[in-house]
């Protein structure tokens, strides 16, 4: 499966789909990164639900150092058709090392393989997040969204 296991570069972290057992580490990562804990990480049961469709990736270097949560907001039959990027976080000591880009690449490979139409996220007033999203292929959409199309 595309994106099953990939690397952010030589000596870089490994990117893989998240597993239910990653819950505690994913939550700890959100805490240490200074993120308000989203409800998807509030309980172990909700994390299992969130990773089930497949759009959740984790970057590990012994311990998890990056997390990307994409959730379906539309379906074509049983498969996701449109994704909403709920969260992307990278451990503070691993920032500026292309971990976010590698997480998005893994998601993009999976999404294209499934025939997913596009992914959206809320535009944020943060230069680093903005640069990451533009590098990956997101473009401004409507008033306050970013859109990454997989079908172009």
């Amino acid at each position: 499966m595309i994106g099953e296991l990939s690397s952010a570069g030589a000596g870089g972290p490994t990117i893989r789909p998240a597993r239910p057992g990653d819950y505690a580490a994913a939550r700890a990562l959100a805490e240490v990164s200074g993120f308000e804990i989203p409800s998807t990480l509030a309980r172990e049961a909700s994390f299992a639900e969130v990773i089930a469709p497949g759009g959740v990736y984790i970057a590990t270097a012994d311990l998890p150092i990056g997390l990307l949560i994409a959730q379906p907001i539309a379906y074509d039959g049983d498969r996701p058709y449109t994704l909403w990027i709920e969260l992307i976080i990278v451990h503070p000591s691993w920032r500026r090392r292309a971990v976010g880009t590698a997480l998005y690449r893994a998601l993009g490979g999976w999404a294209r393989q499934l025939g997913i139409h596009g992914a959206l996220t809320a535009r944020r007033d943060e230069p680093a997040a903005d640069a990451l999203h533009r590098r990956v292929g997101f473009v401004a959409h409507r008033d306050d969204l970013l859109l990454w199309r997989f079908d172009e």
Partner: protein
Amino acid sequence: MAEHIIGPVAELPPGSHRVVKVRNLEIGIFNVGGAFYALPNICTHQFGPLCAGTVNGTTACSAATDWRFAWVREGEILTCPWHGMEFDITTGRCLANPKVRVRQYPIAVEDGIVKLTL
């Protein structure tokens, strides 16, 4: 998933709808004849603001309408403001291609308060 309070049920009477923002995601909240539905404000076609569209009915022509065009399902159909695709609010399905549907989020009324789970 967590519960989010949308507001008193009296502020969302049957036939009304409203777009709210929950964790950065815009969600359309609809009251269709007393039943509540919650859909993302992103159309499956070109990602337009689906829930900013109008709620009305649609035309049908089938054995049920005696093979004449008839206006049906008033109050149950959402029309996207960008290119006019129609969606069944009660199922999230696109009328032109029912295989495609927008996600429906759990929504309920408890003690007179509308609560969304997201």
